[in-house]
Symmetry: C2
């Protein structure tokens, strides 16, 4: 026995998730006076926008900040959303890890069930007061109540609950905070709202600042943003653990039917093909699925993905070739590895071809586009033009992809150059929510930094007048922290952002090339025009013609020669407008 052994474990205790986040409030974004205020606004607004969009309402959000004293403010956020049923209010604002969004595979701004209760915790930590909530679902009754978090238990405490008749519909939250400060800098509430408006042209935001000045961000689009459909996990990103989790709750009679019901794009045909390869596994009741069987199913999906992305492999399988070139041998060995994983045993040449042949018939569609709601190419273009008045804009919207867990995501990039832009700026968004903080630790920043912009015509990109807008949409954004201000370096997401940036880079290069070509021609023309009188005089001397006449002739020749400068210029302007 050693000194202290007993003492160490006498202290062994459990603690609630609320205690954890209270002690680590910076993980929720509550560090620094300016940031804490912006975080609170962000949490309440994202809830408002999500609720409005789910209910098909054009969001109209009112934000008011009143200064009550030194580092002491009262924040009011009011929306015209669907309201919150009164029995739900306490959990929304008084319990962490409770909400409508965590278990659903749907693209919303919130996804953790932490944000609103996090605001309540911050309010009570800095002022000792509850948050005040007023809400009505439009059923003729308005509810009001005060909510706090019982930190030790992570349960809500409700006080002063009242209700009265009223025809209003929506939710209003009043949060009094200390240790916060308002300014107009790049991390401020104002900047957050401005960027929210850029990425959400269907939203109207009215902001009353602490001086009483009213700023209105008017909506430029009258169509409500369609809400994304609820997604199913995509088989190309599914893991054995995901399949086992599904198998424990599935009501399907067989594993095959469970796959059809629970996964995206795994219809009857796909399952019939899979059945040839894994008949025993797919006929089992889901509850009897084992880990190694789940691994075999995953391997089969990976083989299908491999075949669908690799034409040479499909050809090889079709031809059942036995004499292989060096390149074909690599492909074949890869397929052999898949088949070993699928069958769980060694394989022969015939067997490998047989299994791959069965799987090459399976078609699994890419992630559904209707589960993701990007800003949209046109909206990004319009927004960058109207907000920044640049001389050139390029936008790329990539197709949806899948990352680990079968989770669909999609990347959009817009780049604006020149015009009213005076310096470099990177605007990061996730599900159309501006990310103002933690830029250093964000996959978007990393991806932008990783590009060799010289290759795209920008020798000093980060000191050029360029605005880069990146928006990542997903049913589950892999945020680095519960504070949701940076995207983690998940390889699939990082690579896809890079691809989008390189694609937009090629557009920039084309533009830069054209601009350079025009500038070169202009330079040549200038030189010619400079020497033109001299040449004209020499020619006139030699030929005995009238000097003026020769000069006019030459001038016309130059103009003719360089007329295409104007054409090129017009074309570039046309693209940029």
């Amino acid at each position: 026995m050693v000194d202290g052994e007993v003492d160490i474990f006498k202290e062994f205790k459990e603690h609630s998730v609320a205690e954890f986040f209270k002690k680590n409030r910076h993980m929720l974004g509550y560090s620094g006076k300016v940031r804490s205020l912006t975080t609170a606004v962000h949490e309440l607004i994202t809830n408002s926008l999500d609720a409005c969009e789910e209910a098909g309402i054009l969001p109209d959000v009112y934000v008011k900040l009143e200064r009550l004293g030194e580092e002491h403010y009262r924040l009011t956020v009011r929306d015209n959303g669907p309201g919150i049923p009164p029995h739900i209010v306490p959990k929304v604002f008084g319990k962490l890890l409770a909400g409508t969004k965590f278990h659903r595979m749907i693209q919303t701004r919130g996804q953790q069930g932490i944000g609103a209760a996090g605001v309540t915790m911050f309010v009570q930590i800095t002022t000792g007061k509850p948050i005040h909530v007023k809400t009505s679902t439009g059923d003729g009754t308005v509810w009001e109540m005060d909510v706090m978090v019982d930190v030790m238990k992570n349960e809500p405490i409700v006080k002063n609950r009242t209700h009265y008749p009223g025809s209003w519909r929506g939710t209003e939250v009043i949060a009094e905070m200390k240790e916060v400060e308002y300014n107009r800098g790049k991390y401020s509430v104002y900047e957050y709202l401005r960027r929210t408006a850029i990425a959400n042209p269907h939203v109207r935001i009215t902001f009353v600042d602490p001086d009483g000045k009213i700023h209105t961000f008017e909506r430029s689009s009258l169509e409500p943003v369609r809400i994304g459909e609820e997604a199913k996990p995509h088989p190309f990103g599914i893991t054995p653990d995901d399949l086992l989790s599904l198998s424990k709750v599935s009501k399907a009679k067989t594993v095959g039917r469970m796959l059809t019901n629970s996964l995206h794009g795994t219809g009857g045909k796909a399952v019939i093909s899979l059945m040839k390869v894994l008949p025993h596994v797919l006929k089992k009741p889901p509850r009897e699925l084992t880990w190694s069987e789940a691994e075999r199913i995953v391997a089969a999906f990976q083989a299908i993905r491999f075949l669908s992305e690799n034409r040479a492999a499909r050809k090889l399988v079709e031809a059942k070739k036995k004499e292989l070139t060096e390149e074909e041998r690599l492909l074949f060995n890869q397929m052999k590895r898949y088949v070993r994983k699928i069958t769980g045993e060694e394989t022969t040449l015939e067997k490998t071809y047989e299994v791959m042949k069965a799987l090459s018939g399976v078609r699994i569609r890419g992630p559904r586009t209707d589960v993701l709601v990007p800003i949209g190419e046109e909206r990004i273009r319009k927004s960058l033009r109207s907000n920044l008045k640049p001389s050139f804009v390029a936008v790329v919207e990539r197709k949806p992809r899948v990352y680990s867990g079968g989770i669909p995501f999609q990347v959009e990039v817009g780049v604006a150059v020149g015009g009213n832009i005076s310096s470099f700026e990177l605007m990061r968004f996730a599900n159309r929510v501006p990310l103002l903080f933690d830029a250093g630790g964000c996959a978007i920043t990393e991806a932008v930094k990783s590009i060799d912009w010289k290759r795209y015509g920008f020798p000093d990109f980060f000191n050029s007048p360029v605005v880069v807008l990146v928006n990542v949409s997903s049913t589950h954004i892999p945020y680095t922290t519960a504070g949701k201000q940076a995207i983690a370096d998940v390889p699939e997401v990082f690579n896809e952002i890079r691809q989008a940036l390189m694609e937009v880079g090629r557009k920039l290069r084309e533009y830069a090339n054209k601009v350079n070509a025009v500038q070169e021609l202009l330079q040549k023309k200038k030189v010619l025009e400079h020497y033109l009188p001299l040449i004209a005089r020499s020619l006139a001397d030699m030929s005995g013609e009238d000097e003026k006449a020769v000069e006019t002739l030459l001038k016309n020749m130059v103009e003719e020669r360089y007329r295409r400068i104007n054409e090129l210029l017009e074309k570039i302007e046309g693209e940029a407008s």
Copy 2:
């Protein structure tokens, strides 16, 4: 009533903290194949080191990595620590937010009660298998068991529990993982262990890599690191919420006694002085303490801090001056604000002086140094020298400070320049644990970047052969994420790191100045020596003396003149050795 209103809240659910971190495993550090492996090693090793140090044992840690297949490894971590009582094992490895460290204000590497169970979750997510634990407290019985996490409930599942006689003491964990990869790069297990050895010279680490090669990081110090004492919150960083939390569990009869018992450095004398200012509040039973009273106590502590740091203010209070200069008026107004907050009402000149006078008698010591365990100035110097063979080393150890919540922390910085160092490197540590990831989002990185190194003699610091080591020690490191790889931008911590860097910068400047002075002298000497024969010849010609004799004379003059170069050089070398 609006479309969808009912549907939205039908989906309202609660979820466990294990579900949350399973879905956001990257928040625990499990993103990327190399990083995930390093994270698992990190979590198990920090637990081993903490346990050894608490029990006063010189840590001897054995780490073995075996490659079982493609992206598939088995990790074994074994220590000679105090062992874990068998009934505690399931919660340590099978339940998140449970542990010995969260509720104690003590400097340990672990502090959240998440790490070990996080490894178990990662193991079961990627392999479907449990973690295997073997442990004995040295009481003659060895326990073995398999542990998993029931993710929906955040509760442990234990299988195959056995025990048998044995005289061994320690803990061994075997974790089989997939989706991981080993390499020797800058984010690898190897690099993690190397840096752990640099900051923990009392630890012996034996590492068997996947090729079977054994790397031993031998200890260079035989004295066990003393474990930090358990701290009490420091009154200068305490918040009203902290006081109210204390008041709910305090067994003291009065608030005054509670302050003496629960806060650092608030002895009887201090409370007597406070009593003069807040007699009513300090005599209350703790349970009756209100928020606004807690705010008044906090304001009193802040005023004490203000007085202790401000000699001019103390003078003013002593003199009770009525005719004030511009500068004194500013000081006085600041004091007035404190007194208003302390008394909760408007104040007069007399009243302000009276209250501040009472408080100016209060002495509150800085945070206790024995609760923090820095690496130590000498150890950093030795470690940098022996590991990097630089030509110069400067080390700064700052005094302990307090950040919000009354939490003590301390910053150490070491800088090594030249010698065997070929490029810039920043080594970040928190409580002597190396931070390899998330450098971009870390207060240490931000602080290093924020310094104008040109002022300290480095025109291009980040391309210079310099290694910067920063270690932050605290009873609660404000990590940005539960993955504990970056320190959040808590203002007090950020500023203190900056102060330390500037202090070390001044030492660097002194060194750079000396080096420059020597180089200048050497240059002058070289020029003189170059022209010396020529001058000697001219002099010899003019004077008729022997040329050789004149040259020797001149040479001796030069040598004499520049003898101090050697002195300077010796001095610099002496400092650097």
